[in-house]
Protein backbone atom coordinates (compact mmCIF):
# COMPACT_ATOMS: atom_id res chain seq x y z
CA UNK A 1 0.00 0.00 0.00
CA UNK A 2 2.82 2.38 0.90
CA UNK A 3 4.59 1.51 -2.34
CA UNK A 4 1.38 2.20 -4.25
CA UNK A 5 0.99 5.59 -2.57
CA UNK A 6 4.60 6.41 -3.36
CA UNK A 7 4.18 5.46 -7.02
CA UNK A 8 0.98 7.51 -7.24
CA UNK A 9 2.71 10.49 -5.65
CA UNK A 10 5.66 10.14 -8.06
CA UNK A 11 3.24 10.07 -11.00
CA UNK A 12 1.34 13.08 -9.70
CA UNK A 13 4.43 15.14 -8.96
CA UNK A 14 6.11 14.39 -12.26
CA UNK A 15 3.13 15.86 -14.15
CA UNK A 16 2.28 18.68 -11.76
CA UNK A 17 0.99 21.17 -14.28
CA UNK A 18 -1.26 18.71 -16.11
CA UNK A 19 -2.68 17.45 -12.83
CA UNK A 20 -3.21 20.95 -11.50
CA UNK A 21 -5.07 22.01 -14.63
CA UNK A 22 -7.23 18.92 -14.40
CA UNK A 23 -8.12 19.55 -10.76
CA UNK A 24 -8.99 23.18 -11.53
CA UNK A 25 -11.16 22.25 -14.48
CA UNK A 26 -12.95 19.57 -12.48
CA UNK A 27 -13.38 22.17 -9.71
CA UNK A 28 -14.99 24.61 -12.17
CA UNK A 29 -17.37 21.91 -13.42
CA UNK A 30 -18.28 20.96 -9.87
CA UNK A 31 -18.68 24.62 -8.91
CA UNK A 32 -21.29 25.06 -11.62
CA UNK A 33 -23.04 21.80 -10.73
CA UNK A 34 -23.13 22.66 -7.03
CA UNK A 35 -24.19 26.26 -7.68
CA UNK A 36 -27.25 25.00 -9.52
CA UNK A 37 -27.92 22.51 -6.76
CA UNK A 38 -27.73 25.31 -4.20
CA UNK A 39 -30.06 27.47 -6.27
CA UNK A 40 -32.57 24.63 -6.61
CA UNK A 41 -32.42 23.91 -2.87
CA UNK A 42 -33.00 27.55 -1.94
CA UNK A 43 -35.78 28.28 -4.42
CA UNK A 44 -37.46 25.07 -3.28
CA UNK A 45 -37.24 26.25 0.28
CA UNK A 46 -38.52 29.70 -0.65
CA UNK A 47 -41.50 28.28 -2.51
CA UNK A 48 -42.31 26.01 0.42
CA UNK A 49 -42.14 28.84 2.90
CA UNK A 50 -44.52 30.88 0.76
CA UNK A 51 -46.84 27.97 0.30
CA UNK A 52 -46.97 27.35 4.02
CA UNK A 53 -48.40 30.81 4.35
CA UNK A 54 -50.93 30.47 1.53
CA UNK A 55 -54.21 32.01 2.55
CA UNK A 56 -57.37 32.11 0.56
CA UNK A 57 -60.02 34.77 0.88
CA UNK A 58 -63.57 33.55 0.32
CA UNK A 59 -65.98 36.49 -0.17
CA UNK A 60 -69.60 35.89 0.67
CA UNK A 61 -72.71 36.96 -1.14
CA UNK A 62 -74.50 39.91 0.35
CA UNK A 63 -77.36 39.36 2.79
CA UNK A 64 -76.38 35.93 4.08
CA UNK A 65 -77.93 35.35 7.51
CA UNK A 66 -75.93 34.03 10.46
CA UNK A 67 -77.31 30.50 10.22
CA UNK A 68 -76.37 30.17 6.56
CA UNK A 69 -73.00 31.73 7.29
CA UNK A 70 -72.32 29.16 10.04
CA UNK A 71 -73.37 26.34 7.67
CA UNK A 72 -71.02 27.69 5.09
CA UNK A 73 -68.20 27.91 7.64
CA UNK A 74 -68.75 24.25 8.55
CA UNK A 75 -68.88 23.25 4.90
CA UNK A 76 -65.59 25.01 4.22
CA UNK A 77 -63.93 23.57 7.33
CA UNK A 78 -64.90 20.07 6.22
CA UNK A 79 -63.22 20.50 2.86
CA UNK A 80 -60.02 18.49 2.57
CA UNK A 81 -56.75 20.48 2.64
CA UNK A 82 -58.22 23.41 4.60
CA UNK A 83 -56.53 23.72 7.94
CA UNK A 84 -58.23 26.83 9.34
CA UNK A 85 -61.32 28.88 8.62
CA UNK A 86 -61.63 32.33 10.16
CA UNK A 87 -64.58 34.63 9.76
CA UNK A 88 -63.92 38.26 8.99
CA UNK A 89 -67.08 40.34 9.02
CA UNK A 90 -67.29 43.27 6.67
CA UNK A 91 -67.19 45.66 9.63
CA UNK A 92 -64.04 44.09 10.92
CA UNK A 93 -62.55 44.21 7.44
CA UNK A 94 -63.29 47.90 7.21
CA UNK A 95 -61.68 48.48 10.60
CA UNK A 96 -58.60 46.63 9.44
CA UNK A 97 -58.53 48.68 6.28
CA UNK A 98 -58.80 51.90 8.27
CA UNK A 99 -55.91 50.80 10.43
CA UNK A 100 -53.87 49.86 7.40
CA UNK A 101 -54.45 53.23 5.74
CA UNK A 102 -54.25 55.76 8.59
CA UNK A 103 -53.59 58.71 6.27
CA UNK A 104 -56.70 58.15 4.19
CA UNK A 105 -59.35 58.88 6.84
CA UNK A 106 -61.12 61.28 4.48
CA UNK A 107 -61.88 58.50 2.03
CA UNK A 108 -63.55 56.44 4.73
CA UNK A 109 -65.49 59.46 5.93
CA UNK A 110 -67.22 59.79 2.58
CA UNK A 111 -68.42 56.19 2.63
CA UNK A 112 -72.11 55.95 3.30
CA UNK A 113 -72.16 52.23 3.30
CA UNK A 114 -69.51 49.61 3.97
CA UNK A 115 -68.55 48.42 0.46
CA UNK A 116 -66.64 45.34 1.70
CA UNK A 117 -68.18 41.89 1.72
CA UNK A 118 -68.17 39.45 4.61
CA UNK A 119 -65.39 36.92 4.15
CA UNK A 120 -63.70 33.78 5.40
CA UNK A 121 -59.97 33.60 5.56
CA UNK A 122 -58.82 30.03 4.86
CA UNK A 123 -55.41 28.55 5.50
CA UNK A 124 -54.48 25.87 3.01
CA UNK A 125 -52.64 22.72 4.09
CA UNK A 126 -49.00 22.63 2.91
CA UNK A 127 -49.46 19.44 0.90
CA UNK A 128 -52.16 20.96 -1.29
CA UNK A 129 -50.40 24.27 -1.89
CA UNK A 130 -49.19 23.56 -5.39
CA UNK A 131 -50.52 25.95 -8.04
CA UNK A 132 -52.79 23.21 -9.41
CA UNK A 133 -53.94 22.19 -5.93
CA UNK A 134 -54.86 25.76 -5.05
CA UNK A 135 -56.76 26.18 -8.28
CA UNK A 136 -58.77 23.03 -7.63
CA UNK A 137 -59.64 24.14 -4.12
CA UNK A 138 -60.70 27.57 -5.38
CA UNK A 139 -62.93 26.03 -8.07
CA UNK A 140 -64.60 23.78 -5.50
CA UNK A 141 -65.22 26.66 -3.13
CA UNK A 142 -66.61 28.94 -5.86
CA UNK A 143 -69.35 26.38 -6.55
CA UNK A 144 -70.47 26.38 -2.92
CA UNK A 145 -73.78 28.31 -2.58
CA UNK A 146 -73.36 31.63 -0.79
CA UNK A 147 -69.81 32.22 -2.08
CA UNK A 148 -69.36 35.16 -4.39
CA UNK A 149 -65.63 34.97 -5.09
CA UNK A 150 -62.35 33.36 -4.08
CA UNK A 151 -59.05 35.13 -4.15
CA UNK A 152 -55.46 34.01 -3.66
CA UNK A 153 -52.17 34.84 -5.27
CA UNK A 154 -52.56 32.16 -7.88
CA UNK A 155 -51.14 34.08 -10.78
CA UNK A 156 -47.77 35.03 -9.42
CA UNK A 157 -47.35 31.79 -7.47
CA UNK A 158 -47.92 29.72 -10.59
CA UNK A 159 -45.59 31.90 -12.60
CA UNK A 160 -42.89 31.77 -9.95
CA UNK A 161 -43.20 28.00 -9.75
CA UNK A 162 -42.95 27.75 -13.54
CA UNK A 163 -39.83 29.91 -13.63
CA UNK A 164 -38.11 27.98 -10.88
CA UNK A 165 -39.05 24.70 -12.56
CA UNK A 166 -37.52 25.95 -15.80
CA UNK A 167 -34.39 27.18 -14.01
CA UNK A 168 -34.08 23.89 -12.22
CA UNK A 169 -34.35 21.98 -15.48
CA UNK A 170 -31.68 24.19 -17.01
CA UNK A 171 -29.63 23.61 -13.87
CA UNK A 172 -29.91 19.85 -14.04
CA UNK A 173 -29.06 19.85 -17.75
CA UNK A 174 -26.09 22.16 -17.24
CA UNK A 175 -25.05 20.15 -14.20
CA UNK A 176 -25.21 16.94 -16.23
CA UNK A 177 -23.23 18.52 -19.05
CA UNK A 178 -20.56 19.83 -16.71
CA UNK A 179 -20.33 16.50 -14.92
CA UNK A 180 -19.81 14.88 -18.33
CA UNK A 181 -17.19 17.54 -19.04
CA UNK A 182 -15.46 16.65 -15.76
CA UNK A 183 -15.39 12.97 -16.72
CA UNK A 184 -14.08 13.86 -20.15
CA UNK A 185 -11.32 16.08 -18.73
CA UNK A 186 -10.08 13.43 -16.32
CA UNK A 187 -10.27 10.84 -19.10
CA UNK A 188 -8.22 13.09 -21.33
CA UNK A 189 -5.57 13.74 -18.68
CA UNK A 190 -5.23 10.04 -17.93
CA UNK A 191 -5.05 9.34 -21.66
CA UNK A 192 -2.21 11.86 -22.06
CA UNK A 193 -0.39 10.31 -19.11
CA UNK A 194 -0.89 6.82 -20.48
CA UNK A 195 0.54 7.73 -23.87
CA UNK A 196 3.44 9.63 -22.39
CA UNK A 197 4.27 6.59 -20.28
CA UNK A 198 3.66 3.89 -22.83
CA UNK A 199 7.26 2.61 -22.68
CA UNK A 200 7.17 2.55 -18.92
CA UNK A 201 3.97 0.51 -18.96
CA UNK A 202 5.51 -1.92 -21.45
CA UNK A 203 8.52 -2.32 -19.17
CA UNK A 204 6.27 -2.95 -16.17
CA UNK A 205 4.50 -5.69 -18.11
CA UNK A 206 7.84 -7.25 -19.07
CA UNK A 207 8.99 -7.48 -15.47
CA UNK A 208 5.82 -9.29 -14.45
CA UNK A 209 3.59 -6.49 -13.23
CA UNK A 210 -0.11 -7.34 -13.27
CA UNK A 211 -2.60 -5.01 -14.96
CA UNK A 212 -3.96 -4.21 -11.51
CA UNK A 213 -0.51 -3.09 -10.34
CA UNK A 214 -0.09 -0.92 -13.45
CA UNK A 215 -3.57 0.62 -13.34
CA UNK A 216 -3.95 1.24 -9.63
CA UNK A 217 -1.90 4.50 -9.55
CA UNK A 218 -3.90 5.83 -12.51
CA UNK A 219 -7.18 5.06 -10.74
CA UNK A 220 -5.89 6.67 -7.57
CA UNK A 221 -4.88 9.74 -9.55
CA UNK A 222 -8.29 9.97 -11.23
CA UNK A 223 -10.08 9.55 -7.90
CA UNK A 224 -7.83 12.13 -6.25
CA UNK A 225 -8.35 14.61 -9.09
CA UNK A 226 -12.12 14.11 -8.85
CA UNK A 227 -12.20 14.44 -5.06
CA UNK A 228 -9.86 17.44 -4.94
CA UNK A 229 -11.72 19.15 -7.79
CA UNK A 230 -15.04 18.55 -6.03
CA UNK A 231 -13.72 19.85 -2.69
CA UNK A 232 -12.25 22.93 -4.34
CA UNK A 233 -15.49 23.62 -6.24
CA UNK A 234 -17.63 23.31 -3.11
CA UNK A 235 -15.20 25.50 -1.12
CA UNK A 236 -15.37 28.28 -3.71
CA UNK A 237 -19.16 27.98 -3.73
CA UNK A 238 -19.22 28.24 0.06
CA UNK A 239 -17.16 31.44 -0.04
CA UNK A 240 -19.51 32.86 -2.67
CA UNK A 241 -22.47 31.80 -0.53
CA UNK A 242 -21.08 33.56 2.54
CA UNK A 243 -20.74 36.72 0.48
CA UNK A 244 -24.27 36.56 -0.94
CA UNK A 245 -25.87 35.56 2.38
CA UNK A 246 -24.07 38.50 4.02
CA UNK A 247 -25.61 40.75 1.38
CA UNK A 248 -29.08 39.39 2.24
CA UNK A 249 -28.56 40.22 5.90
CA UNK A 250 -27.34 43.72 5.14
CA UNK A 251 -30.37 44.32 2.95
CA UNK A 252 -32.60 43.40 5.90
CA UNK A 253 -34.07 40.43 4.11
CA UNK A 254 -32.92 37.91 6.67
CA UNK A 255 -36.34 37.76 8.29
CA UNK A 256 -38.22 37.23 5.05
CA UNK A 257 -35.92 34.57 3.72
CA UNK A 258 -32.63 33.27 5.00
CA UNK A 259 -30.71 31.31 2.39
CA UNK A 260 -29.10 28.06 3.45
CA UNK A 261 -25.94 26.32 2.22
CA UNK A 262 -25.90 22.73 0.99
CA UNK A 263 -26.57 20.14 3.66
CA UNK A 264 -23.75 17.76 4.69
CA UNK A 265 -25.56 15.00 2.77
CA UNK A 266 -25.68 17.16 -0.38
CA UNK A 267 -22.00 18.08 -0.02
CA UNK A 268 -21.21 14.40 0.50
CA UNK A 269 -23.17 13.49 -2.63
CA UNK A 270 -21.32 16.17 -4.65
CA UNK A 271 -17.90 14.98 -3.47
CA UNK A 272 -18.87 11.39 -4.14
CA UNK A 273 -20.13 12.42 -7.58
CA UNK A 274 -16.93 14.20 -8.53
CA UNK A 275 -14.82 11.34 -7.15
CA UNK A 276 -16.86 8.89 -9.20
CA UNK A 277 -16.45 11.16 -12.23
CA UNK A 278 -12.67 10.98 -11.72
CA UNK A 279 -12.81 7.23 -11.45
CA UNK A 280 -15.05 6.90 -14.49
CA UNK A 281 -12.83 9.15 -16.61
CA UNK A 282 -9.87 6.99 -15.67
CA UNK A 283 -11.78 3.79 -16.32
CA UNK A 284 -12.80 4.92 -19.82
CA UNK A 285 -9.24 5.93 -20.76
CA UNK A 286 -7.69 2.73 -19.45
CA UNK A 287 -10.27 0.69 -21.31
CA UNK A 288 -9.55 2.51 -24.55
CA UNK A 289 -5.79 2.26 -23.96
CA UNK A 290 -5.79 -1.49 -23.37
CA UNK A 291 -8.03 -2.01 -26.40
CA UNK A 292 -5.55 -0.07 -28.54
CA UNK A 293 -2.66 -2.09 -27.13
CA UNK A 294 -4.39 -5.38 -27.84
CA UNK A 295 -5.07 -4.35 -31.42
CA UNK A 296 -1.64 -2.85 -31.89
Amino acid sequence: MRALMRRTWLDLSSHKFLNLITVITVALSMLIVSAFLLFAANTGELLDSWRRGVRMMVYLQEGLDDARRRDLQQTLAKLPDISEVRYISKDKALQQLRRALPGQASIFATLRKNPLPDAFELRVAVGAASPQGLQEIATTIRSVPGVSDVEYGQQWLARFADVTRLLRMIGYTMGGLFLAAGIFIVANTVRLLLYSRRDEIDIMRLVGATERFIRMPFYLQGILQGALGGALGVTVLYLAYLYVAGGFRHAGLAGAFSPRFLSPAEIGALLLGSTLAGWLGCFLSLKQFSRLQENG
Binding site: D202, M204, A209, F213
Partner: protein, 228 residues
Amino acid sequence: MADDPIIRLFHVHKHYGSKSALADISLTFGRGEFVFVTGPSGAGKSTLLKLLYLGTPASAGQILVDGMNLARIPRKRIPYLRRRFGIIFQDYKLIASRSVFYNIALVLEAAGERSALIGKKVRHMLRSVGLEKKADVLPPSLSGGEQQKVAVARAMVGGPQIILADEPTGSLDPDSAAIIIGLLEDFHARGGTVIVATHDREMIRRSRRRVIALQDGRLATPAAREAP
Protein backbone atom coordinates in the same frame (compact mmCIF):
# COMPACT_ATOMS: atom_id res chain seq x y z
CA MET B 1 20.82 -31.33 -18.96
CA ALA B 2 18.13 -32.47 -21.38
CA ASP B 3 17.07 -35.00 -18.73
CA ASP B 4 15.57 -32.13 -16.78
CA PRO B 5 14.20 -29.75 -19.38
CA ILE B 6 12.93 -26.37 -18.22
CA ILE B 7 11.75 -25.19 -21.65
CA ARG B 8 10.51 -27.29 -24.54
CA LEU B 9 9.31 -26.21 -27.97
CA PHE B 10 7.40 -28.54 -30.28
CA HIS B 11 7.07 -27.60 -33.94
CA VAL B 12 6.66 -23.94 -33.12
CA HIS B 13 5.77 -21.50 -35.90
CA LYS B 14 5.47 -17.77 -35.73
CA HIS B 15 4.34 -15.51 -38.49
CA TYR B 16 3.51 -11.83 -38.57
CA GLY B 17 0.76 -11.50 -41.16
CA SER B 18 1.95 -13.44 -44.17
CA LYS B 19 5.62 -13.16 -43.19
CA SER B 20 7.10 -16.18 -41.43
CA ALA B 21 9.46 -15.32 -38.57
CA LEU B 22 9.99 -18.83 -37.21
CA ALA B 23 9.14 -22.17 -38.78
CA ASP B 24 8.95 -25.62 -37.23
CA ILE B 25 11.21 -25.03 -34.25
CA SER B 26 11.57 -27.96 -31.86
CA LEU B 27 14.03 -27.39 -29.02
CA THR B 28 14.81 -28.25 -25.45
CA PHE B 29 16.57 -26.09 -22.86
CA GLY B 30 17.83 -27.92 -19.80
CA ARG B 31 17.42 -26.62 -16.29
CA GLY B 32 20.59 -24.77 -15.28
CA GLU B 33 21.87 -24.66 -18.85
CA PHE B 34 23.69 -21.72 -20.50
CA VAL B 35 22.76 -21.57 -24.18
CA PHE B 36 23.52 -19.16 -26.99
CA VAL B 37 21.00 -18.57 -29.75
CA THR B 38 22.76 -17.17 -32.75
CA GLY B 39 22.18 -16.26 -36.36
CA PRO B 40 22.25 -13.21 -38.61
CA SER B 41 19.92 -10.27 -38.13
CA GLY B 42 16.34 -11.26 -38.94
CA ALA B 43 17.01 -14.96 -38.32
CA GLY B 44 14.37 -15.02 -35.59
CA LYS B 45 16.51 -14.88 -32.41
CA SER B 46 14.51 -12.13 -30.73
CA THR B 47 11.23 -13.68 -31.81
CA LEU B 48 12.25 -16.98 -30.24
CA LEU B 49 12.97 -15.26 -26.91
CA LYS B 50 9.73 -13.29 -27.10
CA LEU B 51 7.73 -16.48 -27.54
CA LEU B 52 9.17 -17.86 -24.29
CA TYR B 53 7.87 -15.03 -22.09
CA LEU B 54 4.71 -14.57 -24.16
CA GLY B 55 5.84 -11.21 -25.48
CA THR B 56 4.03 -12.57 -28.51
CA PRO B 57 2.06 -15.81 -28.85
CA ALA B 58 3.16 -18.68 -31.11
CA SER B 59 1.15 -19.06 -34.30
CA ALA B 60 1.33 -22.86 -34.10
CA GLY B 61 3.06 -25.54 -32.05
CA GLN B 62 3.47 -25.95 -28.30
CA ILE B 63 5.82 -24.34 -25.81
CA LEU B 64 6.24 -25.66 -22.27
CA VAL B 65 7.97 -23.57 -19.63
CA ASP B 66 8.61 -25.50 -16.42
CA GLY B 67 5.64 -27.71 -17.22
CA MET B 68 3.28 -24.84 -18.14
CA ASN B 69 1.75 -24.93 -21.60
CA LEU B 70 1.98 -21.32 -22.79
CA ALA B 71 -0.94 -21.75 -25.20
CA ARG B 72 -3.18 -22.44 -22.21
CA ILE B 73 -2.08 -19.68 -19.90
CA PRO B 74 -4.93 -17.22 -19.31
CA ARG B 75 -4.08 -13.55 -19.92
CA LYS B 76 -4.23 -12.77 -16.24
CA ARG B 77 -1.54 -15.37 -15.44
CA ILE B 78 1.01 -14.00 -17.93
CA PRO B 79 2.64 -11.70 -15.31
CA TYR B 80 3.26 -14.75 -13.11
CA LEU B 81 4.94 -16.56 -16.02
CA ARG B 82 7.13 -13.50 -16.60
CA ARG B 83 8.29 -13.48 -13.01
CA ARG B 84 10.08 -16.78 -13.72
CA PHE B 85 12.21 -14.86 -16.21
CA GLY B 86 14.68 -12.04 -15.95
CA ILE B 87 14.80 -10.31 -19.31
CA ILE B 88 17.70 -8.21 -20.63
CA PHE B 89 17.53 -6.17 -23.82
CA GLN B 90 20.11 -4.57 -26.07
CA ASP B 91 18.43 -1.18 -25.53
CA TYR B 92 18.24 -1.80 -21.74
CA LYS B 93 14.57 -0.78 -21.50
CA LEU B 94 15.02 1.21 -18.31
CA ILE B 95 12.49 3.83 -17.19
CA ALA B 96 14.38 7.03 -17.97
CA SER B 97 12.41 9.26 -15.60
CA ARG B 98 12.92 7.05 -12.56
CA SER B 99 16.00 6.40 -10.45
CA VAL B 100 18.20 3.33 -10.81
CA PHE B 101 16.86 2.15 -7.45
CA TYR B 102 13.25 2.49 -8.60
CA ASN B 103 13.94 0.63 -11.84
CA ILE B 104 15.25 -2.38 -9.94
CA ALA B 105 12.75 -2.16 -7.08
CA LEU B 106 9.88 -2.18 -9.58
CA VAL B 107 10.27 -5.94 -10.12
CA LEU B 108 9.89 -6.62 -6.41
CA GLU B 109 7.07 -4.13 -5.94
CA ALA B 110 5.19 -5.70 -8.84
CA ALA B 111 5.64 -9.10 -7.22
CA GLY B 112 4.19 -7.76 -3.97
CA GLU B 113 7.42 -7.97 -1.95
CA ARG B 114 7.43 -6.29 1.48
CA SER B 115 8.86 -2.76 1.46
CA ALA B 116 11.49 -3.57 4.09
CA LEU B 117 12.87 -6.40 2.00
CA ILE B 118 12.79 -4.44 -1.24
CA GLY B 119 15.40 -1.93 -0.04
CA LYS B 120 17.64 -4.68 1.24
CA LYS B 121 17.48 -6.77 -1.92
CA VAL B 122 17.93 -3.83 -4.28
CA ARG B 123 20.98 -2.55 -2.40
CA HIS B 124 22.47 -6.03 -2.38
CA MET B 125 21.89 -6.31 -6.14
CA LEU B 126 23.41 -2.88 -6.77
CA ARG B 127 26.49 -3.90 -4.81
CA SER B 128 26.88 -7.10 -6.78
CA VAL B 129 26.90 -5.18 -10.09
CA GLY B 130 29.11 -2.45 -8.62
CA LEU B 131 26.59 0.39 -8.80
CA GLU B 132 25.82 0.96 -5.13
CA LYS B 133 26.71 4.64 -5.46
CA LYS B 134 24.39 5.19 -8.41
CA ALA B 135 21.12 4.21 -6.72
CA ASP B 136 19.62 7.68 -6.95
CA VAL B 137 20.71 8.74 -10.43
CA LEU B 138 18.52 8.59 -13.51
CA PRO B 139 19.51 5.95 -16.10
CA PRO B 140 20.23 8.39 -18.98
CA SER B 141 23.11 9.87 -16.96
CA LEU B 142 24.86 6.48 -16.86
CA SER B 143 27.18 4.98 -19.49
CA GLY B 144 25.87 2.18 -21.73
CA GLY B 145 27.73 -0.44 -19.72
CA GLU B 146 26.33 0.90 -16.46
CA GLN B 147 22.80 0.98 -17.84
CA GLN B 148 23.13 -2.62 -18.92
CA LYS B 149 24.37 -3.51 -15.44
CA VAL B 150 21.21 -1.93 -14.04
CA ALA B 151 19.19 -4.01 -16.49
CA VAL B 152 21.04 -7.16 -15.35
CA ALA B 153 20.41 -6.25 -11.71
CA ARG B 154 16.74 -5.74 -12.52
CA ALA B 155 16.63 -9.10 -14.32
CA MET B 156 18.15 -10.93 -11.35
CA VAL B 157 16.66 -9.17 -8.33
CA GLY B 158 13.40 -11.09 -8.37
CA GLY B 159 15.22 -14.44 -8.16
CA PRO B 160 14.10 -15.76 -11.57
CA GLN B 161 14.69 -19.32 -12.81
CA ILE B 162 15.68 -18.24 -16.30
CA ILE B 163 17.48 -15.24 -17.74
CA LEU B 164 16.70 -14.28 -21.31
CA ALA B 165 19.21 -11.83 -22.77
CA ASP B 166 18.56 -10.37 -26.22
CA GLU B 167 21.87 -9.02 -27.61
CA PRO B 168 22.91 -7.93 -24.10
CA THR B 169 26.33 -6.74 -25.24
CA GLY B 170 25.30 -5.49 -28.68
CA SER B 171 25.93 -1.83 -27.92
CA LEU B 172 28.74 -2.18 -25.37
CA ASP B 173 32.53 -1.92 -25.56
CA PRO B 174 34.44 -5.22 -25.04
CA ASP B 175 35.25 -4.54 -21.37
CA SER B 176 31.66 -3.75 -20.46
CA ALA B 177 30.52 -6.76 -22.49
CA ALA B 178 32.87 -9.02 -20.55
CA ILE B 179 31.47 -7.73 -17.24
CA ILE B 180 27.90 -8.39 -18.35
CA ILE B 181 28.74 -11.92 -19.52
CA GLY B 182 30.56 -12.45 -16.22
CA LEU B 183 27.37 -11.51 -14.32
CA LEU B 184 25.38 -13.96 -16.43
CA GLU B 185 28.01 -16.66 -15.77
CA ASP B 186 27.64 -16.01 -12.02
CA PHE B 187 23.88 -16.44 -12.26
CA HIS B 188 24.41 -19.68 -14.16
CA ALA B 189 26.95 -20.88 -11.57
CA ARG B 190 24.27 -20.48 -8.90
CA GLY B 191 22.06 -22.90 -10.87
CA GLY B 192 20.11 -20.47 -13.08
CA THR B 193 19.24 -21.10 -16.71
CA VAL B 194 20.61 -18.53 -19.18
CA ILE B 195 19.57 -18.09 -22.79
CA VAL B 196 21.51 -15.44 -24.70
CA ALA B 197 20.59 -14.33 -28.21
CA THR B 198 23.63 -12.83 -29.93
CA HIS B 199 25.48 -12.64 -33.19
CA ASP B 200 28.79 -12.01 -31.42
CA ARG B 201 30.80 -15.04 -32.64
CA GLU B 202 33.82 -14.17 -30.50
CA MET B 203 31.76 -14.23 -27.31
CA ILE B 204 30.25 -17.60 -28.27
CA ARG B 205 33.64 -19.07 -29.14
CA ARG B 206 35.17 -18.02 -25.83
CA SER B 207 32.38 -19.28 -23.62
CA ARG B 208 32.17 -22.83 -25.10
CA ARG B 209 28.48 -23.23 -24.45
CA ARG B 210 25.80 -24.96 -26.46
CA VAL B 211 24.81 -22.94 -29.51
CA ILE B 212 21.49 -22.94 -31.29
CA ALA B 213 21.87 -21.42 -34.73
CA LEU B 214 18.93 -19.92 -36.59
CA GLN B 215 18.81 -19.08 -40.28
CA ASP B 216 15.75 -17.49 -41.90
CA GLY B 217 13.53 -18.56 -39.03
CA ARG B 218 14.60 -22.20 -39.05
CA LEU B 219 17.11 -24.20 -37.02
CA ALA B 220 20.28 -24.06 -39.11
CA THR B 221 21.69 -27.41 -38.07
CA PRO B 222 19.08 -28.88 -35.80
CA ALA B 223 20.37 -32.38 -35.10
CA ALA B 224 24.04 -31.56 -34.73
CA ARG B 225 23.50 -28.58 -32.44
CA GLU B 226 20.87 -30.07 -30.19
CA ALA B 227 23.33 -31.91 -27.93
CA PRO B 228 25.42 -29.81 -25.51
